[in-house]
Structures are given as C-alpha cells and as structure tokens.
C-alpha cells in the first residue's frame, strides 16, 4: 500500500487537540498516531506534549558535553601553553597562575556550552530540514496544521475525522 500525506488546517489549538485525541483513540489501518503525525503551529505550545504523548528532548545532553569539554580544553590548553613557555616568566607570579586560568576556563565553559547546545538543537530538531511534501503558509500565520502519513486505504477515514472537527482546509498529495 502506498503512503500519502495529508495536511489539515485548524483555527486553534483546541480543535487540533480534539482531532489528535480522536486519531490516537481510533484504530486506523496503517497509521500510528505516535509516528505518523506532526503538529505544525505558528507558536510554541507546550501543551501539545500532553495530547501528542511525551517525546524526549536531548538538547541538554549536548549542553553538558559542550560545557565540560569547553572548560577542560581551555584549562588544559592554557595551562599547558603557560607551562611549556617558561621562558616568558612574569616576575612575582607563578608560571601557571590559577586565577587567570580559571577566568578563561569559565569563559570557554560558556562558549563550549552555547556552541554545542546550538549544534545539538540543529541535530535534535533536524534542521536544516527538507521541506515537507505538504505545507501551507497559513501555518506560519495563525493556523494549526496536522500533517499525517497514511495508507491510501485509510485516507477516507482520516478525511472524515478531519472534516468532523471543522478543518479549514485539507490538502492531499496526489496519488502516486
């Protein structure tokens, strides 16, 4: 059975939520609400987690890695360079002075944290993303979109569910 995409647009989060709940509770052949459904919205809406089901966010693991690496690398490199270049002694100060090294370690800890967090964001969010098969500019304006991947046979079922909840527009991919 070939898969096709359908995009339904709704006026607000409540209607979209109702649709998603119904989709999750109904048995539809070739469709798993957890995997084949994407909610697109113009603003973030943490409550989406509640009706979509919890999905983990891994960005902060990247943060931990980046920050610790940044700090460690900075301290090692800086003290290493100071220790190896004892020909440039500064009178009255030790060769590897801890306070300045800590200041720079702190800065690089933050640098590493920020850079790797953003890298993690790009990886976890899948950006840059290939554009979806179906998209409506209204999603970036004021409507909520539900994009589903479904078998041809179940398309009609889904269409009914969508229309039942006052979908403003339903887009369908032309049959392959």
């Amino acid at each position: 059975m070939s898969k096709r995409h359908m995009l339904a647009l709704y006026n607000n989060f409540d209607e979209a939520e109702a649709v998603v709940r119904e989709l999750r509770s109904t048995e539809i052949k070739g469709f798993k609400a957890a995997d084949d459904l994407i909610v697109k919205s113009p603003i973030e809406h943490p409550e989406v987690e509640k009706f979509l089901g919890h999905k983990p966010v891994n960005v902060q693991w990247f943060t931990l890695l980046g920050a610790t690496l940044g700090g460690l690398l900075a301290f090692t490199l800086i003290s290493g360079s100071q220790a190896n270049f004892y020909a440039q002694m500064k009178g009255g100060k030790p060769i590897v002075p801890i306070p300045p090294d800590l200041v720079l370690t702190y800065e690089m800890f933050i640098l590493g944290g920020v850079y790797i967090t953003v890298l993690g964001f790009l990886i976890c969010a899948g950006l840059p993303a290939k554009r979806s098969a179906l998209y409506s500019a209204k999603v970036s304006e004021d409507q909520i979109g539900l994009l589903v991947t479904v078998d041809d046979s179940s398309a009609a079922t889904l269409r009914n569910i969508f229309t039942k909840h006052q979908a403003l527009e339903i887009q369908e991919e032309a049959g392959k």
Binding site: M89, K90, G91, G92, K93, P94, I95
Partner: protein, 290 residues
Amino acid sequence: MSVSNLLENWSKFRHNHPVEDKGHPDWQAYPSEIKWAMAIDLDACTGCNACSVACYAENNLPVVGKEKYSHGQAMHWMRIERYWDEDNREFPDQGAQFLPMLCQQCEAAPCETVCPVGATNHTEDGLNSQIYNRCIGSRYCSANCPYKVRYFNWYDYPSTENVWPAPMEQQLNPDLTVRGKGVMEKCTFCKQRTYTARNNAKTEGRKIHDGDVQTACQQACPTNAISFGNLFDPESRVAKQWEQQQVELIKAEQEKDVKPGNNLRGYRIFEELRPYPSVMYLERVRENGV
C-alpha cells in the same frame, strides 16, 4: 618544550621573583648568579643630564623635537626630574633637587603581567625585558607602571625628519635596533652591554667581575653617582651599597624603616606598592639633615 622536560625540571622552573633562595634554573649559557641592580647617589647627582644624553646615544633614542616634547611624547629612557623646595629660602636655587628616573627593573613588575601578548617578561638575570617585535602597542604596561618609565613610539621616528639629522645617523649603535612606530620601549640596563659582558666571561670561563660592564648612564656620570652591577656578587660596589644601606631586594618594607632613629640614606621609590624595584636611591644629604 615537552611534557617530560617540564616534569623533570619543574622544581627548577617553578620559582617566583622575588626569590628568597638562590637556586635559580641552570640555563645553559647564562647561570643566574646575576641579578643586575643599580644605586644612584642623589647627593652626588648634579642634574647635569649627562646620563640622559649618554642613554640617547647608546640606545638609539630618537630626539623628538620641541613640539612633541612639550606634548609629553619624549623618549628619554633616563630622565632627570627637577623638583623645587619652595620654602622661602634666601637662595631659591638651593631648593632644586634632581632625580634621575629610569626603569626600575622591578622583580615583581606590574607591567609584566598585563601585556596581552607577553612582550614584556622577566629575564633570568633579573631584568624586565621588552620584546619589540612582539609588542602590538596596547600600552597596558605603561598604564600599569607606577613610575611611568615606559616610552611609546608615538611616531615612526626612523622615517621622520630631523630625528637623526645627517651625519647623526652614523652614530647609531649597531648593537641594537631602531624601533618603528607603535612599539613600547624602556631602559634595559644596557642589555647589549651586559649580554656582551656575560658572553665574554663565559668564553673566558670565568664569572663576571664588578666593573666588567658599565651602563651608558653610569659611564657618563661625572660624579660617579650611579653604581651598577651584580647584586648577588658581594664584592660589587652596588651590593656593598645595598648592604650598607640595609635595603633588601625582596622586602616591601625595610626593617630599618620600621625602627626609630634611622639615619641611612638608602631607599627605593614606591616600595610599598611591592614591585620590588632594583634601583636604590641614596637620599640627598640636606643642610638641615647634617
């Protein structure tokens, strides 16, 4: 430059100036049994400026001209400062005092820690070094110097007119560079002379004797007010003077200053700021002090 070298020799390298021990690193060419220091007798000083001129000649200092001098952009590594005692005396000129001020070669120099590129450091023979080709001209070292004895090349003097008008460029010292614009410079205790003296001593397999090397200012002074030498050599004139005056290099406050009834003339300027300067001044004997 390797980790193993570093670990083996850590105890030798890890020392601070000012050092209380004499266990200095045993560098190949220059064993650090040398600590260059100076003593300037202000009673003998007549303010004649011969030292300043000699320094100009020895170290390729540019003569900046009247206009730039009045803007405060002079390059005199050794400067004679004039102070006047205005106490309604009968002969006002007797109130003049002269202070030859030069880089104090501080053991814990405030300038060394703040250079962003590490152009100023402490050498193993106790001098504060300035590396011209590393300097990017941030001038933080001068900002931090309490004595303001660091001089910045505000213009490109080699290419400026009338700095060394012909045939004066013939007398430039080939032993050191002529600095271009944007670089900080200061007194080096005539590095080119001490370097040569140490080389000669090493070649001859002996230690440096007192008098082997004279700085240009010391050499030119008509009254022998300046004495220069190795502070770690007990036989040198400068070491004897420091000892007589009970001034110790590594103290921020000398014991003699704490005790009452101190008649000794020796002092260091801004000692309380703890840069541990290497230049000791001998206070002028005043009429009322005798």
